[in-house]
Amino acid sequence: MTACIEARGLRKAFGATVALEGIDLRVEEGRIVGLIGPNGAGKTTALNAILGLTPYQGELRVLGRDPWTERDRLTRDVAFIADVAVLPRWIRVAQVLDYVGGVHPRFDRAKAEAFLARTNIQRTSRVRELSKGMVTQLHLALIMAIDVKLLILDEPTLGLDILVRKQFYDSLLNDYFDSSRTILVTTHQVEEIQDVLTDVLFINRGRIVFDCSMESFESRYVEVMAGPEHVAAARALHPIHERQVFGRSILLFDNVDRQQLSALGEVRTPGIADLFVAVMGHSAGQAEGTAR
């Protein structure tokens, strides 16, 4: 199977600031990958490199091509939504439909029209007259009507209310995604995309610090809500993280037998956000350790 995105030692520095510190990455076709990281972790830089919007050092192949030198060819097979504010504000809805239909050989106008018919967006409106949610819906209608192999979403739901966010991911899964397509998404609203993803990547300080498919995520990680009487026993099993909620301890375990843990309290699959906190705390501690 060919990789949709393959990076080896991907590096990028802005002056003295290192944004990407040697990323190794392999995304297979037909996956929905979440790239999760704190602000300034290098998410957008990584996406820009993949999109051919920024030069980089190291090796990077997207659909078998070099995105920096072959960007023109790649744009036929790669679509992206950078964030909500990139549609030109002066353009009319009908104009942007004409334009994308005119320049993109894989654009299906009927599909975009059908999607827009379910919204309140008027054809004669200018983008600047639309609400933030409507602009996202419009951009999504355009992107979802383009038959591409790779879709990249950088904070696609930033600043949107919860209803629109839910709708966004529902249409992404139901109307768009199939096994020949690959989606790479970054967001801060991690819990909302947990059920959508097939793989999750954590990025911090320009490095991939965690890389796991959701299947193995669910089998590897277990969270136990332990009563006070079991806390000592639970701690003996080396949890990777522990937090307190309403006076009870919630302990996160990596690769510990579920049966054994269920004796200590309520067992469940952790949220990506909880694992994120655990992993980030861990890698931050490591970084401090190496700094000293």
Binding site: L53, T75, F80, G102
Partner: protein, 309 residues
């Protein structure tokens, strides 16, 4: 459009596989995009044309009496009544040059400022096509707009004057014989073409600065030129650079037309005053076009590299 083709080949850096459908469609839609975004490209000249038409129309009310007065004059002085038709295109063309300057200085800067460049770059339109579309606006589209509007204005004025003369029971024939309508069309096409070619490096420079500057591109476009001039004045006590800039602004008039007496930018009344051979053999023209190509190559490279501001 031999000038466009000659520009296209060196810009790519590598030979173009020329496939009309895949190359022409993005170009066509890029041009439409520019006209959608910058409605002043045609609105400003249209408004000026309307004002010119209105002002000249008012003056045609006095036409019958002027025609009568002229009939009493010797034939040598009879050109005055068609003056209004000859000067009508001038403000329209001047407007398109001003619009072209403002368009170019914002063309590659505005899309980075409002971050819409991320949207444009997500579409399969190359940087080369985008920059070429943007330079075709001042080189081809605006001269076309100026030509069509001037023609419409002149025809409208001619019909209006004819109607007024007929309504006053006078013959419009003297007006029509003096008009030299087709000669005027030729002079206009020639004038617009030579100026587009002569000003090409100005447009190229403005596009380059527009792609390069983060803010205040108009200052970046002008200040280095003034600085070079000032340094030259202080160091060598000469004005060579400033004279060169001045030649770039006014040179087309002197290279492409022969005025009598020499040096006065008077009227062009005879086709023999057009000097295309002298214009085409002017080294300033070819140096300018070469510079344009270099500026555009740099602008394409910059658009490829630059991120939103």
């Amino acid at each position: 459009m031999s000038s466009d083709l000659s520009m296209q080949t060196p810009l790519g850096g590598q030979p173009l596989p020329f496939t009309p459908t895949t190359e022409a469609r993005p170009m066509y839609w890029s041009l439409r995009r520019e006209l959608w975004e910058n409605r002043s490209l045609y609105l400003a000249p249209v408004i000026v044309a309307a004002v010119v038409l209105f002002a000249t129309a008012i003056s045609t009310i006095g036409l019958p009496s002027r025609m009568r007065a002229m009939a009493r004059k010797p034939p040598a002085q009879r050109t005055s009544i068609v003056k209004a038709y000859d000067i009508a295109p001038a403000p329209i063309m001047l407007t398109t040059f001003i619009v072209a300057i403002f368009y170019c200085i914002d063309a590659l800067n505005g899309e980075r400022r409002d971050r819409s460049i991320l949207f444009w770059k997500s579409m399969p339109v190359s940087d080369r096509t985008t920059v070429l579309a943007k330079v075709l606006i001042p080189l081809v589209v605006l001269p076309l707009i100026a030509f069509v509007l001037s023609l419409i204005t002149q025809v409208a004025l001619l019909l209006l004057s004819t109607a007024i003369l007929l309504a006053n029971g006078m013959s419009p024939v003297p007006l029509w014989t003096q008009m030299q309508f087709f000669q005027g069309v030729i002079v206009m096409v020639y004038g617009l073409t030579v100026h587009a070619l002569w000003f090409a490096p100005i447009y190229g420079w403005l596009l380059l600065v527009s792609a390069w500057a983060r803010r205040a591109p108009i200052l970046w476009a002008l200040l280095p030129l003034l600085a070079i001039s000032a340094v030259e004045r202080i160091t060598f006590n000469t004005w060579l650079f400033m004279n060169m800039l001045q030649y770039r602004v006014t040179g087309a008039m002197f290279e492409a037309f022969a005025f009598t007496p020499k040096g006065s930018s008077g009227d062009v009344t005879r086709l023999s005053q057009l000097t295309p051979v002298r214009f085409l053999s002017a080294s300033g023209l070819w140096a300018g076009l070469l510079l344009t190509v270099l500026f555009l190559i740099a602008a394409v490279r910059l658009r490829h590299k630059r991120e939103p501001i």
